[in-house]
């Protein structure tokens, strides 16, 4: 069935105003650039099922569109809770948005927990007036234990890969036992198909116990 999945992973997209957060979401979910849309207040949602390894994974993504303005931070902070991963977005042609990343990392780790999978995303790769070099950002990402990628929400370059990488990082954390999907607020849920597998496994056991 098209709609079954093994895991549901909750992601967050955050970063300064105007870095292209909702465009990244739109490009990933709809596979096209979000043109001429009024920016929304608060948050935007999207979800898509992707294949990562042998698993069908549903990514449920919240983009905190107003997060950039200081006064919205107390509103959007509640979305960190229950997120398994976060994309921290800056604009490669705007140094200030890159400088803010330290603040977004602190918020994410403090509010979602140290285990949250963080991705540093340098967006607007299509622009020519770059202010943040690839080397500088990748070093920064390494120092802060994040995966780093550059994207263009306009052309779609790197977008798919970013979301898939973040999903893969979370699945690895599950496999290695670093995160427990059962913990409330982990941002991970078992999907219909994995539930079915679990219930199939447990059924014979139950029958056995009934016999005894």
């Amino acid at each position: 069935m098209a709609h079954t999945y093994d895991f549901l992973l909750k992601f967050l997209i955050t970063g300064d105003s105007g870095t292209g957060k909702s465009c990244l979401l739109h490009q990933f979910v709809e596979n096209k650039f979000k043109e001429g849309a009024t920016h929304t207040i608060g948050v935007e949602f999207g979800s898509r099922i992707v294949t990562i390894g042998k698993n069908q994974v549903k990514l449920q993504i919240v983009s905190c569109d107003s997060a950039g303005q200081e006064r919205f931070r107390s509103v959007t902070r509640s979305y960190y809770r229950g997120a398994a991963g976060a994309l921290l977005v800056y604009d490669i042609s705007n140094r200030n948005s890159f400088t803010s990343i330290a603040k977004w990392i602190a918020d994410a780790r403090k509010l979602a927990g140290a285990d949250i999978a963080l991705m540093l995303v340098g967006n607007k790769l299509d622009l020519e007036d770059r202010e943040v070099s690839y080397l500088e950002a990748s070093r920064f990402a390494q120092e802060n234990e994040m995966t780093f990628l550059e994207t263009s929400a306009l052309t779609g370059e790197g977008v798919e890969e970013t979301f898939l990488k973040c999903g893969r990082a979370i699945l690895t954390k599950i496999e290695t036992g670093q995160v427990d999907p059962e913990r409330p607020g982990s941002g991970i849920q078992y999907g219909d198909s994995s539930l079915r597998r679990i219930s199939q496994k447990s059924r014979p056991a139950r029958q056995k116990s009934l016999c005894c």
Partner: protein
């Protein structure tokens, strides 16, 4: 008209406004009902704008960022459209007029909607001032947005009271209603309702005030309850709720439902909820 607050005439006016204000009277009645006419001081708007160049304004960066993403598909606000300059002036003037509030995202949509309904730049400014000072609580857009956050708690309580099944469904699906409804309150439905329905809601808002926002929010959820209950996971609920408002073309029905289903439940409980919630929300420490 603004001085009339009760009695048979008032009831009649409310009834008429619920039926929709004719386009040719709309901006006049909005100005009158919002209190903008009363507040207006000749020359003040221009004086505000002449105080300092935009770039020196504290809120300039935030305003500039939003100018080109306010109704960008509308001809008035598309690149080169005359609306952008007017929008810039109104938002700058407001931020100078009320430096404590400055500029908050969402105001661009309110001011943009006023410009789209045939108000001049200065008229729009005064309606915005009266909206943000009189029709909405004065602290609505202040630094930590506590007042609209308290409203969200009130709304959740109301939903629990009026639509307990829906409230339980949100809990089971791990859906935070605020994620969808926060912008309804902050932008007065600007970024979610079709324009013809939006203007009808604003007609009533200018006459009746903030209570209308609760009534309409509850009515929207009420009209979509069945469909929301059919959504079997959080993502589906969010997606449905994001698009359900975009197709609410039945303004008459929305008005009718908002009047009827909240008649009993709303006023008394709301005041109680509001006060308990606002006092329980304390400003956050500086780091958050």
């Amino acid at each position: 008209m603004a001085t009339i607050g009760q009695g048979a005439d008032w009831e009649e006016l409310r009834e008429l406004v619920r039926g929709g204000i004719p386009v040719m009277y709309r901006n006049k009645i909005w100005q009158e009902a919002s209190g903008a006419y009363d507040m207006r001081q000749p020359g003040y708007y221009r004086e505000l704008l002449s105080r300092q160049p935009p770039e020196e304004c504290q809120c300039w960066g935030d305003i500039e960022l939003d100018l080109h993403r306010t109704f960008p598909t509308n001809v008035l606000f598309s690149p080169g459209g005359q609306g952008i300059e007017k929008l810039k002036n109104i938002l700058l003037a407001y931020s100078i007029h009320n430096p404590l509030v400055g500029y908050c995202q969402g105001m661009n949509l309110l001011a943009g909607t006023l410009l789209l309904t045939n108000n001049t730049e200065e008229e729009s400014f005064w309606i915005l001032v009266s909206m943000l000072g009189r029709r909405m609580p004065e602290d609505y857009f202040t630094q930590q947005l506590l007042s609209p956050q308290a409203d969200q708690r009130v709304l959740k309580e109301l939903v629990q009271e009026i639509m307990p099944r829906l409230s339980l469904h949100f809990q089971e699906m791990h859906v935070d209603l605020t994620a969808v409804t926060f912008s309804w309150f902050l932008t007065l439905f600007t970024d979610c309702l079709p324009v013809e329905t939006l203007l009808r809601v604003w007609d009533v808002f200018f006459v009746e005030g903030m209570m209308v926002v609760f009534k309409i929010a509850v009515a929207i959820l009420w009209m979509n309850e069945k469909e929301i209950l059919k959504c079997r996971n959080g993502a589906a609920v969010y997606c449905y709720m994001k698009q359900m408002t975009l197709v609410m073309h039945q303004a008459d029905k929305l008005m009718k439902v908002s009047k009827e289903n909240t008649k009993q439940a709303l006023p008394k409980q709301m005041l109680h909820f509001f006060h308990t919630n606002l006092t329980s929300l304390t400003p956050l420490p500086h780091c958050f």
